[in-house]
């Protein structure tokens, strides 16, 4: 049973560029949440997708956007990258009609902005 997968593993970009990160949820899960984890901090909630719509959003600017596809996979897009966007980006999946708090995480994408 495949768990949550994310790609790419690492990414290096320069300020002002745009980036797209990808996530495939655990089999049987229909909800995808994205988190940003800065060094030495806990993950911070960015947004959550269910039925191809953004259901909830954390305190992140509009430069952060996302998408969910019919197969439940998801993308996170960040425009106009800033140095402060350097972080580990984690995707978590869950099943909305189960205990949706029970979220399983992927290995993350390490984004470095130079």
């Amino acid at each position: 049973d495949a768990g949550v997968t994310q790609s790419p593993t690492h990414l290096i970009k320069t300020r002002g560029q745009q980036v797209t990160l990808r996530c495939s949820p655990k089999s049987g899960h229909d909800t995808v949440s994205w988190y940003q984890q800065a060094l030495g901090q806990g993950p911070q909630f960015i947004f959550q997708y269910y039925e191809e719509e953004e259901r909830q959003r954390g305190n992140f600017p509009d430069r952060f956007s996302g998408h969910q596809f019919p197969n439940y996979s998801s993308e996170l897009n960040v425009n106009a990258l800033l140095l402060g966007d350097s972080a580990l980006y984690l995707c978590a999946s869950s099943y909305l009609r189960g205990n949706y708090n029970e979220q399983f995480f992927g290995p993350g994408t390490r984004l470095t902005v130079l």
Binding site: Y35, G42, Q44, F45, R55, Q56, G58, N99, E102, R110
Partner: protein, 112 residues
């Protein structure tokens, strides 16, 4: 605003010691408290607690929730070097607000 505070922020122990990690929280419409272990990248799910006073156990790890005093503890007995990691506590709420709010994490180092 939902809040999770973990303590201590870091600790160093020797193999065989027992450790207790603390997590206190403030959240509207509390539903669940979760513990994760993070070694390099992906936080690995350990426990989800929803009921007060019921201990959950998995091998040398155990956890309990106190919904009246708004805290949880994670105990690790007979620690091993493989327990070295960051332990994250998160809380989730009822309803559409299903995001998890995390604490900063506790860095545990187990020396041989």
């Amino acid at each position: 605003e939902d809040k999770v505070v973990q303590s201590p922020l870091s600790l160093v122990v020797h193999e065989g010691d027992t450790v207790t990690l603390n997590c206190s929280y403030e959240v509207t419409n509390f539903r669940s408290l979760l513990w994760y272990k993070q070694e390099k990248k992906a936080p690995t799910f350990l426990f989800m607690l929803t009921s007060s006073g019921i201990e959950k156990k998995s091998g040398r790890l155990s956890s309990i929730l106190d919904k009246k005093e708004l805290f949880s503890i994670l105990n690790i007995t007979a620690t091993q070097t493989g327990d070295s990691a960051v332990y994250l506590c998160a809380v989730g709420a009822i309803g559409a607000n299903s995001k998890l709010t995390f604490g900063k994490g506790i860095t545990l180092s187990v020396r041989p």
